[in-house]
Point group: C2
Chain length 313, copies 2
């Protein structure tokens, strides 16, 4: 088995959005801004900085406008906002988001539960978003939630996912994200589907969004990279969670992913020691431990002094 | 990329030994026996049930004799005892352990710290163990701790590991375990070294022992399986830990590994729903949460009822 690890792996940091949105305790707007500003110094080229959804649906991120207004913009970084509909798009564009991340679910039941509308209605709304966004200098990305499984419906037919990729492209959205929303993917499934999607979408335009709900997140990243995927979402500290599994992991952990890449020789451009310092602040900010491992254990290459007694043996 | 998953993956359950040995709270002998008896019903063919080391070194397992005396032996299961020296071997054989797992470190510094002797002295002691064991119906396995990295010395030269494999074989011990004692391995390193070791040791006689200290445990299992390894240690709940990283994961989690295998179609012969019930008892027994994910999140295939409000949309 040979591995070509010469292509960089691009990490989009999503902790300010997919991480904070599930936090039970309110995180002050100034703390959100400070976190994003710190993340902007870590080497990321993309940060999902917030969402513009109904404040009734996700109160934790109701301050999207203030957050996007308050952050220090770095020229090399694309600041992304997640949006579910035209109203969200209008708010995000007013707030000068660089990219709108449209989201709908491959599963009809999950789209009803999460977006309170049928998939067809989501696609119609996205048509309006595309028309509106066309008058503004903003990028568009289309996310497909529950790509690898739905907590209500189970396995999602791969052809269904490909149809949604086609639907996004028919709307003029070339850039897509396959999201394993509740961590149901396995590496062989990932490999199979990513191969098929890469026949339609270039690697530059395909992002994989994995959750580590059942401990398979990094296995899935490696499987996707091996068949050509290059862009991955991840969250500092493994922030986030699963609404159906209190205590379970959320997003794959950025520093654990970067540590893996550093170890096997895949470039990410991210400063891991700096990232670890950021991650180690999170428990104080959020009031609980985070699932990320490397922040607790140190990098593979961090050594320890041997016990003194061995000198006497 | 093609994957041949037709060979079963053999899991050796090590929670009673490598898990419990690091627990700060004393686990009653009767509770240890009950745990092992429950594990004996899960489908394992091998359980590392305890160790016979100095009670001063590992007080948590000082009741090895009583544990081995108290458990219900199942004919299809090999009950293994870890031992560091001849005295341990004598105790283990008196306690009717089916297999002695000899352990030394590839790293001189780690062997000094852990075994309080040089590697050469460990090998000499193992010569005595082999002579003694020869008169008894007991199997022998040789473990190489810190195979993939030492917390004091860092990377271990691969040739050093191969020398120790040869040294075990020269003693007449055909069965070896490569142990990633503090979770420093990465999948490409694993692949490279396992390939080389499989030139010396048959897959039936090679066990991989990974820790999930930095979240790479299951990636390392897949990498090892892909190049021919078939036998893996794992611990219920991911029990265990890293002495250098409070809060970090220990052994790879048995139920997370079995869930991965079930999902990608590798047979293990282990009853995952039963195993999850066992794992979910551990927090009450030990007084703390465990790092295993599937016990919290459920299997990939466990679905949830959709929210009632979608019927009204």
């Amino acid at each position: 088995m040979t591995h070509d690890y010469s292509d960089a792996l691009i990490v989009q940091e999503v902790s300010p959005r997919d991480g904070l949105q599930i936090e039970p305790t309110w995180v002050e707007t100034t703390d959100k801004i400070a976190l994003i500003d710190q993340l902007s110094l870590a080497g990321f080229s993309r940060i999902e900085a917030g969402s513009f959804v109904s404040p009734k649906a996700i109160a934790a991120l109701r301050d999207g406008e203030q957050v996007f207004q308050g952050i220090i913009r770095h020229p090399g970084i694309i600041y992304v906002a997640l949006i579910p509909n035209l109203k969200g798009a209008q708010r995000a564009i007013e707030s000068r988001a660089d990219e709108l991340n449209l989201v709908m679910s491959a599963s009809q039941t999950h789209n009803l539960a999460n977006m309170r509308m049928r998939c067809e209605a989501s696609l119609t709304a996205f048509g309006d978003v595309v028309s509106f966004a066309g008058d503004h200098p903003v990028r568009l990305n289309g996310s497909i939630a529950t790509t690898f499984g739905c907590p209500f419906e189970g396995r999602i037919d791969e052809d269904r996912v490909l149809q949604l990729v086609d639907a996004y492209q028919a709307l003029g959205i070339q850039s897509v994200t396959l999201a394993d929303t509740t961590g149901m993917a396995n590496p062989r499934q990932v490999e199979r589907l990513v191969k098929r999607v890469l026949e339609r979408v270039s690697a530059d335009h395909l992002t994989l969004h994995f959750h580590n709900t059942r401990g398979l997140g990094l296995c899935n990243v490696l499987a996707a990279y091996e068949v050509g995927a290059r862009r991955f979402d991840a969250a500092l500290g493994g922030l986030g969670g699963c609404p159906f599994a209190p205590g379970a992991s959320g997003n794959i952990c950025t520093e654990d992913l970067v540590n893996l890449c550093d170890e096997v020789g895949i470039e990410t451009g991210i400063d891991l020691p700096y990232l670890l310092r950021l991650s180690r602040q999170l428990p104080a900010l959020l009031g609980h431990e985070l699932p990320g491992q490397v922040a607790k254990a140190g990098r593979n290459c961090d050594l320890h002094p041997p016990p003194g007694y061995i000198a006497t043996l």
